[in-house]
Symmetry: C2
Subunit: 423 residues, 2 copies
């Protein structure tokens, strides 16, 4: 862990990890974090990832109808499925900046391409920070040009922080044929975090040999169960981007990989979801003003997607979030949130558990349940809510849709960050 300070005005989240994972090097990936001086003083705010040869690339982006210029550019460059570099800047989102913004993104890609002697379309860009301010590419390009030496992955995770109070990193190593492969990932995000897209900024790197088409399927699948299951405030950024790069250093023997169901992919597939859920939990744990992390398990829904919507309705409800902040096991508000989700749910078969204690069964309170363990659970940092919405399919079969959602609570700290401090 480096000794650099973040510029966040807020104290570090009480849910920050005690120590950060140490990310191993991946052959053929060179990491550089640097200070462009564009917006922040005394900290890195710019990252360059160089791939020594063309890597396979995959990506998922914000569903916002107001995407940033960086999202427009990276989405266009992804068509080729190949990458030589990734440039990420913090402090200015280059969003809602019109034609000037599109030009700034393109100029940055061209400058990086010149430096690396590659095509501009092989450069990916992500930008995070203030919306609606013109981005000047000159200081970014000057910093990229002057940059020397290599940085630690953790430095990179720190360099892309905005209102984050801690850097988010995760790593896994698994079997891939006869090889041991590495998965490294970093992310940033604290406010304007809501799902239904590739939430926030997150980047995943591996040395596994997976072709771009399949890499895209792997990433989309894992994303649905991880970053798309996080919510801080239900507000969706214009800049959300998750990119995955595979250098192909470690290749499988035998027939080419063609399908997600190929058994040789199973360890990577499991590890990728696990890795991205690790990031998801870290992002919710650094939600603006967070005092408690909610883990919401939903079962008995019509489909997994319906379960996800129900979980998000609970995790996004200001009344549920404030009740959790107030350590109040107010399960009536959970009922309300399920009811407003719009998804099928059977009121008179609904069950709710808090901290493992049954508080509601068959559409009403459990008479005389022991409130003490529930109250104790609510006083902790981790609040676990489990609901079964009891949907019955035809032939009296119980529906099996399920999902797990991570959400922060809603505290005075969120108001402090977003109302009392002017941006």
């Amino acid at each position: 862990m480096t000794s650099k300070k973040t510029t966040s005005p807020m104290p570090i989240s009480p849910l920050a990890p005690k120590k950060f994972a140490k990310l191993p090097a991946i052959a053929g990936i060179e990491v550089q974090a640097m200070a462009s001086g564009s917006r922040y003083r005394g900290r890195d705010d710019l990252v360059l990832l160089r791939f020594s040869k063309l890597t396979q690339a995959a990506g998922v982006f914000t569903s916002s109808k107001m995407p940033s210029a960086a999202v427009d550019l990276s989405r266009a460059h992804l068509v080729g499925g190949k990458a030589r570099a990734l440039v990420v800047n913090a402090g200015n989102a280059n969003a809602f900046t019109g034609k000037a913004g599109a030009k700034a993104a393109l100029d940055t890609a061209k400058g990086a391409a010149k430096l690396l002697d590659c095509k501009p379309t092989d450069v990916f860009i992500a930008s995070t920070g203030v919306i609606g301010e013109d981005l000047d590419p000159a200081p970014l390009l000057a910093a990229l040009k002057a940059s020397r030496g290599e940085s630690d992955w953790l430095d990179m995770a720190r360099a892309i922080m905005t209102t984050d109070t801690f850097p988010k990193v995760a790593t896994r190593q698994v079997k891939f044929g006869k090889h041991q492969i590495t998965l490294n990932a970093i992310a940033k995000g604290s406010g304007m975090i809501a799902p239904d897209m590739a939430t926030l900024l997150a980047f995943v790197f591996t040395d596994a040999g997976v072709p771009a088409g399949l890499l895209q399927k792997l990433l989309s699948e894992a994303n649905t169960k991880s970053l798309n299951c996080v919510t801080v405030d239900g507000d969706t950024s214009t800049s959300d981007t998750c990119l995955m790069f595979a250098t192909g250093d470690k290749k499988l023997d035998g027939a080419p990989l063609r399908s997600l169901e190929d058994k040789r992919l199973a360890p990577l597939r499991g590890a990728l979801t696990d890795l991205m859920q690790d990031l998801a939990v870290q992002v919710a744990s650094d939600g603006e003003g967070v005092s408690k992390l909610m883990t919401i398990d939903v079962t008995g829904a019509e489909t997994d997607a319906a379960a996800r919507q129900i979980g998000l309705a609970i995790g996004n409800s200001p009344l549920v979030k404030t009740a959790v902040a107030g350590e109040d096991a107010n399960w009536g508000r959970i009922v309300m949130a399920i009811g407003k989700s719009g998804e099928a749910a059977e009121r008179d078969r609904l069950s709710i558990d808090i901290g493992g204690v049954q508080v509601a069964r068959k559409g009403r309170a459990v008479a005389g349940y022991d409130e003490r363990p529930v109250a104790k659970h609510m006083r902790g940092r981790h609040v676990n809510i489990r609901v079964d919405v009891g949907v019955q399919l035809e032939a009296k079969k119980k529906a099996k849709g399920q999902a797990r959602i991570w959400a922060s609570d809603l505290t005075h700290g969120y108001i402090d960050i977003n109302a009392d401090y002017r941006s």
Copy 2:
């Protein structure tokens, strides 16, 4: 205005009206407010409206999948389109109370029917308050039986308050054929307020002669432009109910009324929307913890419904709401909210005005706009946001969908009410 005190722990909203409308009597409607002692001490918490003969009835209810027992009962009783009485209790929502709750609602209706010598299906019930607690009908029935004399309409509006800090009343008088007719309305609601349904509790009364089928169409139309355009916290109650009753004392000459487009209905139709928008503004003005009222006008959307969704995305966004509370003209957050609404919007044709000042045009900031009048506007109690989302139809025709939304801001007061005070 009576001298009764509310039991709200919070100071009265700074946006409360300086004086309340005086509602005239309507022939054939008798109002009684009373104290059942069920939950609150020292205040009325129960209302009985008696109609001297069968009135025409219309209603819209919560879209929640977890409706209260009162909603279930009133929805069922509405099938007949006739009413002799309305009973409303505050303090217990009789929601998520299973079979016992259904029986409590039915017993209340039966008790009232016995008192009035009518059918139980001619009695409508609405309940508001805590979710998940059994409702004992005995004290309600005892109070109904003991009740004598008539109350003021304002007393009735006070008796149904929960976390409201002021009673909501409105009245209009308009031409109806050769008659002058009266429209009286009361409402309650402060938290758990979100649209896409008949929000909160609201009741409208008139002496006009309009058959139930047409009354339903009138109410649904006005509701879409009024109560369904309010949001406090995006949380949808299990108990939302809006009912309208027409005694038929003032009848039209000539052919029976058959269509909303009948010209004789025009004054009533306009006055009803106006009346219900008055209530809508009052509800947003009493949003939990409110410090400022946002009025959000959306134009250039694909349809009116799309404009409404965009306006609600802005009015529900925690980041927009906290920016308004912080008096920060952070229009980047408005862009974000439009982008996440899911409705069509053209980023590069988007315009935003705040307090009548153009801050963004054609998808970017207006260079060098005068920030002083905007800053001054943000310091006031009323914040007006206007966006044109610039959707183009085929043949380069500009889309005309529009809506107006009313929303409260998000302050420490909201957290105080919902986290710091245990319910």
